[in-house]
């Protein structure tokens, strides 16, 4: 069965405290060189073959992501 991945990330202008918290935590792990982190959501969908691109974009844009605050990408594996 086809697998579809939808990745959702906060829009650049929206503060991402989770990403910031990770950036702050990294030095404690002794890790250097990570400049920025953004945290978003990752969805893996198992869909029937007849589910078309439009439907996938509706799912992403109307449910999985909130266009007011988030951008998203859809890709078939």
């Amino acid at each position: 069965m086809p697998r579809v991945v939808v990745d959702v990330v906060p829009k650049p202008e929206i503060l991402d405290p989770q990403g910031q918290a990770i950036v702050r935590a990294l030095p404690r792990l002794g890790v250097r060189g990570v400049r920025d982190v953004r945290q978003g959501k990752h969805f893996e969908l198992d869909v029937d073959d007849d589910v078309d691109a439009d439907t996938l974009h509706r799912i992403a844009g109307e449910l999985l992501a909130n266009p007011v605050i988030e951008d998203w990408t859809v890709r078939r594996l």
Partner: protein, 240 residues
């Protein structure tokens, strides 16, 4: 004078519906419970979308509830001026459903925050704040983890410009909300959403104050027409 009937919607995962209903009773109105799967509002005079974790707030707070049949009915009624109040999860749902602009995201501090929060009531010109003097300071509980209000700059300018910011955090900004925004209104002032819980501040026995009761009394006034129609007109002018 017939008693005012105020609907309280229950979704799976709604928690503060019993509290909203209690507040409605304390305000002298009759609470009418509405089920998420129904698409008729049983002729109520106003609607409260209460707090809680509808559908566990999975995906995004309010995202799944916003697609329920009852919301369609609420959208229709709101367009005809029905007073609607979204509290906490209810506010998140109204934003997700597009009845109010902007969105509510994870607290800047990442933790769930439960505290007695000072607020300023910025306007009395809404269906839910007529009993307050603009500028009044109140204390009501805040309890949320996705309570940070955000909106793009154009929307913010519009909200501020049209006096649609109804409640603002005072003292501490508990979640990083833009412009300390705790609650906003629709253009006609009939639909109001806020993160703090006025229904938990209706008696000092169980709340930090009774400051929240006038939110519900205001709706009763609005329904009974004391300035009910006025509101629509007064909104745009920035008298505060």
């Amino acid at each position: 004078m017939s008693t005012v009937r105020i609907g309280v919607i229950t979704f799976p995962g709604t928690l503060d519906d019993i509290d909203a209903a209690r507040a409605v009773r304390y305000a002298g109105a009759e609470p009418v419970s509405l089920w998420h799967a129904d698409d008729d509002l049983r002729g109520v005079d106003a609607v409260i979308v209460p707090g809680g974790f509808s559908y566990g707030d999975y995906l995004r707070a309010g995202a799944i509830a916003a697609h329920q049949p009852v919301l369609r009915a609420v959208r229709g009624a709101a367009s005809r001026g029905l007073p609607v109040l979204g509290i906490c999860n209810g506010f998140q749902i109204l934003c997700e459903a597009g009845l109010l602009p902007g969105a509510l995201v994870r607290n800047a501090g990442l933790h769930f925050v439960c505290r007695d929060q000072r607020l300023r009531v910025e306007t009395s010109a809404t269906a839910w704040t007529g009993r307050y003097a603009a500028g009044a300071e109140i204390v009501v509980p805040l309890k949320s983890i996705e309570g940070r209000y955000v909106a793009d700059s154009a929307t913010l300018a519009m909200l501020e410009g049209d006096g649609r910011v109804v409640f603002r955090y005072l003292g501490v900004n508990p979640n990083g909300a833009v412009n300390d925004i705790a609650g906003i209104a629709s253009a006609d002032g009939r639909v109001v959403g806020l993160m703090p819980h006025p229904e938990h501040a209706i008696e000092v026995l169980t709340g930090p104050s009774s400051d929240g009761l006038d939110v519900f009394r205001s709706a009763v006034d609005a329904v009974l027409g004391s300035g009910g129609q006025l509101l629509g007109r007064r909104i745009p002018s920035k008298m505060w």
